[in-house]
Symmetry: C2
Subunit: 533 residues, 2 copies
Amino acid sequence: MAQDKLVGLNRRNLLSLIGMTAGSMTMYHAMTTLGLAGESRYNGPIKLEGAPKDTSVLILGAGLAGMTAALELRQAGYNVKILEYNNRVGGRNWTIRGGDSVKELGGEIRNCEFDEGLYINPGPWRIPYHHHGLLAYCKRLGVVLEPFQQLNHNAFLHSTRGGGGKPQRVRYVMTDIRGHISELLCKVTRKGALEGSVTKEDQEMLLEALRSWGALDENYAYQNSTHVREFRGSVEAYRAGRNSVVPTSGKPLSLSEILGSGLWSDLAAFARYEFQTTMFQPRGGIDLIGKAFSKEVDDLVTYNAKVTKIEQDEKRVTAYYEDSENPGTIQRASGDWCVCTIPLTILSQIDINVSAEMLAAIKAVPYASSVKVGLQFKRRFWEEDDLIFGGVSYTNLPIRQISYPSSDFNTKGKGVLLGCYTWNGPNSYEFTSMAPEERVKRVVEYGARIHPQYKEEFENGVSWAWHRSPFTLGCAGDWTEDTRREHFNNLCKIDGRVVIAGEHASQVPAWMEGAILSSLDAITRLHKRIMAG
Amino acid sequence: MAQDKLVGLNRRNLLSLIGMTAGSMTMYHAMTTLGLAGESRYNGPIKLEGAPKDTSVLILGAGLAGMTAALELRQAGYNVKILEYNNRVGGRNWTIRGGDSVKELGGEIRNCEFDEGLYINPGPWRIPYHHHGLLAYCKRLGVVLEPFQQLNHNAFLHSTRGGGGKPQRVRYVMTDIRGHISELLCKVTRKGALEGSVTKEDQEMLLEALRSWGALDENYAYQNSTHVREFRGSVEAYRAGRNSVVPTSGKPLSLSEILGSGLWSDLAAFARYEFQTTMFQPRGGIDLIGKAFSKEVDDLVTYNAKVTKIEQDEKRVTAYYEDSENPGTIQRASGDWCVCTIPLTILSQIDINVSAEMLAAIKAVPYASSVKVGLQFKRRFWEEDDLIFGGVSYTNLPIRQISYPSSDFNTKGKGVLLGCYTWNGPNSYEFTSMAPEERVKRVVEYGARIHPQYKEEFENGVSWAWHRSPFTLGCAGDWTEDTRREHFNNLCKIDGRVVIAGEHASQVPAWMEGAILSSLDAITRLHKRIMAG
């Protein structure tokens, strides 16, 4: 596994390098072609019926995949039980709240000191509107959703490579790049450069469209004007505190400035299908999804069950486990069949008698590195001073993103923002290697370059480095085109009496949707196999 | 007034014509240069202190301007009372809910048959994040806000002039126009057309940026590819019902198609500063703002008070009024000073002894026409079938917009959408002239061309035509550059013991923010005048 992991990391480093030189749009592009950001192929609710009498299924893991399987299989008539390593359901569908304690591998127990009602979601945190499977379960289980603001025109784009490191409003960069491109295209169109490729009539409409779309003046120039202010908006005196709005649009960024700084590259994060409006989050924390599932299946779950061995024969599958909080005594649970949702990082360390192909697949997939850091501040200065209500600011600093809460807008009192969200690459590894208090300290230092208020307003923070997560040893299955071609089908096939499910066994990796789709696919095939005798 | 009104209407018709030929972006542009869409200049909370003992202020109108004045003036120590024409506070800050009855001028009482919890906001309905004054009062008064989705990448753009009248997803038009423009600019750049105006180095970065930003392929062409699908997303078989997602990006719209249809022109509505993310609405109806103010000032309000005459002398201002529900008996209310927020359409018909200049100003401003129609459907098919969660679809059909609710996302059961929202122009006048049931019928017919489900799922509807609104006779003050130059200052000055406030006396007309800013400005000046003796 170590070697495969290195391969994965190198590929990710490569992606990260592409991202740094050519912008993250290119990186996302690369990710998609590598099959990391697929399409949800939810085919509607499943109805499994007529399970043979007294047939049992043992499910390993009470994350979204495991609980989906439990809910549907019990409904079909199976006897179901679940073994879960943590003392809670949800797995990566998890929210850290004030009062919670967290413990990374090799670390100490750390308490989250957020005030009541404040939280961060260390894992998944947002739901694209086209993640049909997840949304269908949210509807069915009554999970209250609210919009997750991904695009906020008033959030910042920040690059240490441009404009003296001054953060720029998203609306400035959006308007300015559109303006410069429109101006250039108008100029060459009027010089006749499009003759032959665009009809005369279309050229005229194009000029009209570009003038409007690019906020050009009557001479097709992009420059400070009332028209520009309609899109660029007004300039708030940066750091001048509340209510100091100066209604001028400011001087547009030059094309050279935008290109050289790379500020344009993060605009893609707002335009991509996966991040388009309307995105969602459960009102109150992402773990309310897991908790809604739990209402249906909690009676089936054995908590703190650390699986150490999985053994199948022609009739049964038996899991050996010990109490993760009081290890020593090995217990057993068994079923006629087994749905295993244990992350591959963990499963690859467990003794399991499946085929050589499946074993190879289990060992083939490294897990992505990701670090999130939540910061509590005395007041919601990003709203009060900076007029940023939700959304994401992007930076080329190691923290990469600052995400402002998409809830409790315009309220008084304290707030928590996501001060750092890295995904693989050197930034992620560096933060992972730090002690949690060091991470928080560094994130506050970096963030203060975008929001100087950090220094005054910061209260406390909590971090989670997924490579040090005891129950996953990483954030999500990190497939490459090669590993997927070689191992994906072997991983997903029913092996004797065992079938694997989870985001790692899906075409929508790293998303909750992947866990659910994979689970529905796995149990549909399993049920069919069982019914076929 | 009749003549002025005609002038206003003609100007608006002109705007509407510009809108129809050159796209609504041009129209918005024209609106702004005419001063119709100004900037909020909120200067922070006001603190009026030390009102002279036993000084009273009579406020006419319990809309947002009147209630802001009442709240602040009472706090400053004044004796305050309010006369209100309606039997409720809020004025145009109003929500029509199931069980409410509405009555237009010359019409019958009509009941809104929406189910419990469903509503439409006939007047204002959304709050830009930079409307500082309004947001400050929402915070102070505890109004719970939720995001209003203006931009939904999956909503429709529709034109009868293009593509056989087939609605196109916003994300298609956005991605395709960006793609075509990028492709054209890359082509001419590579042919050397930018030599002399862009440096060689910037040209190279520009090509790279355009390739990413425009989703071009390795040859800088915009055509169906994985890269395009990342932004365009997948094509759902239109009308094929739930769960029939076919993950292909579809054939891009040609540049000619986009230009000729005018589909591009409505994209501006998502990019304009006024409509940028994050917008807000109160959770549960816009009138919760008025109701929050009402908690502070309800004890000051006399309802159903139809003012017929306003008379001032050197010492007092007296308003004569009758009970709007039982007219006949004239009553009086008076104060040392008066803040008058009665819409100019109504005020111009009331006997009032102010200066000739102010009288001329009162008579100079026509009011905009606007019609909204809310439709209740058996199910939220726009979410279930079309995957449209909130946001606005634009069309060149007379209904102009369809807005999907920004609340109760992903829930079962019925829903209400805004099926028509016109603003001046022939469409508005035509709908105004229809009987309410005819409006609803026509709106359902038009809407079915975008959402065929209308036919099957429609239950009932309610409409409001602002030109037939008894308490406003129009939607909002419709200033021109000329009328503003000639009359605005005369309208806003303190005339004897009377000062005028409301959106019509602001630089942010037609927005709630205008009402509040105007009120703060008026009472600040009034207080100063009083303190000066």
